[in-house]
Symmetry: D2
Subunit: 321 residues, 4 copies
């Protein structure tokens, strides 16, 4: 399970928590402009925008969990089990495997607007990267500094939603989350006043009581609501430092604390890593379960003209001063 | 507003968030064994246990927000407005000003059990440290590795409660929180099962749904419940590194995100700092609003035999690698 | 706004609350078998099943809010503003106006299964009964003793859903309610036990605490959840008397108490009437806002072979013994 | 478990639900003015105010669950297990057994103000009416048209609380409910507006959404909150008929639906009866689990000058017209 959101304050930030019951060989990976992106049913893209994100590299291919390209377009895949449906090959569409979507979009598009045109031709193909790497059921959030959309390949076909909240978690489908958010319109960051009945003496005993009803459990619906509430009330002074620090504060509020969420197999789901990407500048920040100190990798510090993936094993050593 | 909790996993940990709308000159302060503790109505304590904690130092006096002594006894004061009542001088009691309570207890006691005897003689005196430093209305959590208690000086007098949760926040009084926790006994970390009616096909769409109903707002009652749920389900492997990292994860889940909580004066309440103290070893870890990287100060690295306070200005510089 | 549900215990019961800010000339109406049902774009049905329900009679036409036919098939229309979309005439479909749907189905079908075949050919026509009687935006619950379905004419066309809960309220669309119900699977009628953590002493202070989290407000989503919870845990001894009494108890729990729900125009929404129909026997029971005493009209007491509507003005006189 | 509340609209109304897992031989009982009230440790009261209420009559003694006297003072006992503490005989107090309190107060007092003086001298005695009739652990609500108070005999002694809500249910003690009500001050009957963030397009999909968060389960704390919300927003036109009808509507919203609340012994708790007493005029209205038709007994229809109890077996026959 995962939580992703966007944030604009001077620069555009895009990030997520990745919640699972075990790691998947993830590392930060820069794909430079001349690395050849192969597709099963499309021609290789040999020249493209560079991108940075978290990926497993298998057979020299970066399988991105999320990434941002050098034009400031970001995309993340989030678990969407029970609902994601991938399809057999269809003649008159762009047949793109689920694991190819992020490179397909980020290598070619500068904006969400451009990406929409590609997306409308896509048939999400039901093939695995290889036998030993089964497909994950996913949906995607795609965002630039101006807007955010959600892409879901479901029984009825491919659905593309405007995402006015700039938030995505997991099940149920996105339209459920949008309706569900309406149930929370009464919540406020403001100091609460007595709205029940003016004739009774009701005063708050504490700050924060205007948001009583905001959920705090780790279910996907509750994480969506809490993230939306925090993001849309967040204050940062607009500096890179404060933006990044406060972005992580929100992520850490909706992270899964290890031991408090059990899977159907009675394993512990927890937040493997959290990332905040300055999409405007191409800077990837992350923390891991083991190490809450923010780590940083700047795409501009590396040669983007090359053909070879640049891989950065995660620093999981607890850094304490 | 604040949140404090205790955690035992090999060593004993004691920590808190401090939430306010502005700083109060706080810094980490070690009080060595020969620093003379003065009291308004009691004799000076010239030799005592050393302690480490967060304090404002005024007129060479450490006004501790929380501290742990070298015997592993920890104490924290948390805001308790509307309910805290301090009293005039009473002849046959130990008259201790509210700002003197932490040094009074931590300088003399090794355990909660010992402290109880001192506490039962205390009259919390209604005098300010000085005219320009008005009293804060507070209640206190006191804990060692074996037990935790809460101390509240209210209209009816001094109340001492066993604290089976090892958690404290703010208003209302502690007995309210204890009763209130009973409302959440149905919540579980486990993968949810259909308990509404077996004849209907109800299946969870996500993990975490067994804890739906867990509050996520920043009110004191909700922070208490969420902290108790997380603490009592937390998994750590028992190493110092994991214990500290996961302790902060819980604190950060119940921190106040700046901008999302407004005071009656329409100022932003936020978490100034979070701390986790290894009370067994005397190591003070903290993060600040501006810098989520854990900082560390070990009481054993310093001369505890001296007479002078050792002060450590907080590192508020955002540390990112 | 409205709430409808079904109940089977020996006989089959079908009923609803009708919530509005003013009456609409409603009365109980029996349509006998030879009353000619006219349709705008279909031939008149001159011979059909008799039915009983609540209707406004305009120009000698019964505009049913809900009705049950003599075969035990029941249908109710519930407000569905913001979502109901009715369409222009379509050539190759059965073009049925929204106000014609209940007679169209109940006059011809014995079961939900039969009705499904008719429904699949329907285009819900966007025409008003007359200029002075504008269309209501509605969706419908249709049920017999074996199953229940929901019919919604929305932007994408006509949708027919299985209704495993046997409950319908209002907005949002039915599939939202189904997903939303999953959030409540942890609630139980059982005496609560401590599931938070066995190591803490948490005991319930009262019965009913296993269902804490069940919503009690009058919004459509909350009424759906509460009705489903009560219906699926309801006990009745199976006699007609107890079945009817307890059916109304559930309806009255989710009724709108006058004064507690204001519309956008600041008018008071309240439950005009509640009805429980023994669909097996054709007995219509109702209470009104003004009179909580259950009134009863038995279709079998009347000549069903006729051509003329039989109308029963509501007894709104408060009956108290 | 039980729910009681007061309502003033022209006349003063006082009523309650009585929730148990079985009946207790209850019937409506009028005690006339010359019926001699015996007390274990006080002199018999031979002349007193007449009263009407629900009681079990044992050995010619009415054990009232609740009653109203001819001066418009009402009192009800509600279950208070785990918390009620009754005491041994105390020399310098009025020693009144728990089952004697209602007659003790209602026979002598016209107002809450007068009753307070008696109450302050009371020691609630721990003796049973007889061996076969063990004491119930109770607390009491006492009200006239001007004010309401709550009386609790607990470990610390007798506590008397002002009751600004005019509501009482069961556990926990009353001061918990008062604090707890503050958590709901943000709820409103008004049509909801977007308070989360004006920059997001959040509109309500239905009326009633301003009260989302109002609890709907049958626990004592939730029933208190829901009753207070409904009572303080209730509209009635002020006629006897509407006042009584709407009073019962509120009671029925917080009644226990049979089958939906199980006790620790796995029995079904349910609302045995609901009553609304016009305390101004001395009219007792009630409904039972089996019969929702309001029954009525007017104290003025009977000779109040007598010495004999007048008993009215409950009409439990389902009355349907």
């Amino acid at each position: 399970m995962c939580t992703s959101f966007t944030y604009v304050n001077q620069d555009f930030y895009f990030g997520r928590n990745l919640d699972l019951d075990c790691g998947f060989g993830e590392e930060v990976v820069i794909t430079p402009r001349q690395y050849p992106f192969l597709f099963r049913h499309k021609e290789t893209i040999a020249h493209h925008y560079a991108m940075i994100g978290m990926a497993t590299v298998i057979d020299n291919t970066p399988l991105y969990a999320e990434a941002v390209n050098e034009k400031g377009l970001g995309m993340a895949g989030l678990q969407f089990s029970q609902n994601a449906v991938y399809f057999p090959y269809k003649e008159d569409q762009d047949n793109i495997a689920s694991f190819e979507i992020i490179p397909w979009i980020l290598s070619q598009c500068e904006t969400v607007k451009q990406a929409r045109q590609l997306l409308e031709r896509i048939n999400v193909l039901d093939i695995a990267f290889k036998d030993s790497v089964p497909n994950s059921p996913l949906h995607w959030i795609l965002a630039d500094k101006d807007q955010s959309i959600v892409i879901e390949s479901v029984q009825e076909g491919l659905k593309i939603y405007d995402n006015p909240f700039g938030v995505l978690t997991n099940n149920p489908p996105f339209d459920f989350h949008c309706l569900n958010m309406q149930q929370y319109l009464n919540l406020t960051k403001s100091y609460p006043e007595n709205r029940l009945n003016k004739n009774i003496d009701l005063k708050p005993y504490a700050v924060g009581m205007g948001a009583i009803g905001l959920p705090g459990d780790a279910s996907s619906v509750s994480r969506f609501v809490k993230t939306a509430f925090l993001k849309h009330n967040l204050y940062s002074d607009g500096t890179e430092s404060d933006n990044v620090q406060q972005f992580f504060r929100v992520l850490h509020q909706v992270a899964m604390v290890k031991g408090s969420v059990m899977t159907a197999e009675n394993k512990m789901d927890y937040t493997l890593y959290s990332c905040c990407i300055n999409a405007t500048k191409g800077i990837y920040y992350y923390t891991t379960h083991e190490n809450s100190t923010i780590q940083k990798i700047n795409i501009q510090d590396h040669n983007l003209a090359g053909t070879k993936l640049v891989q950065f094993p995660l620093n999981r050593q607890s850094v304490i001063f």
